[in-house]
């Protein structure tokens, strides 16, 4: 089974505030609030770490969930975020484009 890589779309604006990750699409100004799992996925989406590794290291360690089930859910979530152009997904590592444009933090470290 091929690996899946995820990377943050540098064209969205993102802020974490009080534990809530908010993202605005640069394309159509739609505002998204990410849940905890989606936030972990967003924060870990560096384009070079495979999704199964992100799930094993960051999601399974934090939630009581079976790795296979967690990976399945994470893939669905990644595809959904990609459909909104929040994440990019690829079966190859995704080279960094620009610095993560628009991202900065308020009141919380990531």
């Amino acid at each position: 089974m091929s690996k899946l890589y995820v990377a943050r779309n540098p064209k969205v604006a993102a802020r974490s505030l009080d534990g809530e990750m908010m993202i605005m699409s640069g394309r159509d100004s739609t505002l998204f609030t990410l849940n905890k799992t989606a936030t972990i996925l967003w924060q870990s989406a560096d384009g070079t770490t495979p999704l199964d590794e992100i799930v094993a290291r960051r999601i399974c360690s934090e939630f009581e969930v079976e790795p296979i089930e967690a990976l399945h859910d994470a893939e669905n979530l990644a595809r959904e975020l990609a459909s909104h152009e929040i994440l990019q997904i690829s079966e190859e590592p995704i080279p960094p484009r620009n610095p993560v444009a628009g991202e900065s933090r308020t009141g919380e470290s990531q």
Binding site: R15, L17, G19, M24, G26, R27, A101, G102, T106, G107
Partner: protein
């Protein structure tokens, strides 16, 4: 042979909102008079205004049927903004500070163009237009945000005589920087300006400004009270009430971050109120 050309009279006036002078030119005296009435208190003589931030030539077209549901479209291409709705088309080039508006002789089209242009200018400066009423009391500005029916007009109507109404519909918020002695820029906060953009009250705001002291998110309820809200809710609510039209990634990002900057500097609370004047005992 006689000359077959006639000189068209070019009439101008300056509409200054939020300290930003916009000069408009038209050849139609009736339209000019209508603008003078519509923007009374915000009109400066074209001669006295000095250099305008933008010069718009207005080309009046015959009135035609317009789809009232037609949405606005704001796009940028090669440094030139195009602003379109069913009832008008406009272009503006920031580099040359010039543009044109093609519309029929009505006050609504140019009003929409002005609102949009101000959002574009403010977005680059950390400011914004907000769906909110605002008023000055004791030298400080208070914003009352909410969607339609949230109570913006009601709270404006209930304002006591010592409050100066800035708007009952769309607040103008500008980020103000000051230069300190060591020439570093330091944020001084936000200033709210009066606007001629009216809601149900149909009363123009006063053309004055004051530092923003608080933003209240309006809610109607059984008693008058102010409750704190989490910063994330404040940011989300502010974003939901911002006026922003541009399909432009750079400005979307700038506006997004401006909202967070604002809630990190200005107290944001929920103001629940019954529709009577005692609510103003909590303000100021």
């Amino acid at each position: 042979m006689p000359e077959l050309t006639t000189e068209v009279e070019r009439l101008s006036l300056v509409i200054e909102i939020g300290g930003m002078p916009v000069r408009v030119h038209t050849s139609d005296r009736g339209f000019l008079n209508m603008l003078q009435d519509r923007y009374a208190g915000f009109v400066t003589s074209a001669d006295r205004a000095g250099r305008a931030e933008i010069d718009f030539d207005i080309e009046l077209t015959p009135t035609r049927f317009v789809d009232p549901e037609a949405g606005v479209r704001v796009t940028r291409r090669q440094g030139r903004w195009t602003i379109e709705r069913g009832d008008f088309r406009a272009e503006w080039e920031p580099a040359s500070r010039t543009g044109w508006i093609r519309q029929s002789a009505n006050p609504y089209s140019i009003d929409a163009v002005l609102r949009i242009v101000h959002t574009l200018v403010l977005a680059r400066q950390g400011g914004f237009l907000l769906h909110s009423a605002s008023a000055i009391r004791n030298g400080k500005a208070f914003l009352f945000a909410g969607v339609s029916e949230a109570g913006k007009t009601t709270i404006s109507r209930l304002a006591p005589p010592d409050a100066t109404l800035l708007t009952d519909e769309i607040s103008y918020v500008r980020k103000q920087d000051v230069r300190t002695q060591d020439v570093r820029k330091e944020d001084a906060g936000y200033v709210a300006y009066g606007t001629p953009f009216t809601g149900e009250l149909a009363k123009l705001g006063e053309n004055v400004s004051a530092p923003v002291a608080a933003l209240y998110l309006l809610a109607k309820g059984a008693e008058n009270r102010i409750d704190p809200i989490p910063p994330a809710v404040a940011a989300r609510s502010l974003l939901a009430n911002l006026l922003f039209f541009a399909e432009d990634e750079e400005l979307v990002q700038a506006t997004f971050h401006s909202a967070f900057e604002f809630v990190s500097r200005v107290p944001v609370s929920r103001l629940t109120f019954v529709p009577d004047a005692r609510v103003w005992e909590l303000i100021g």
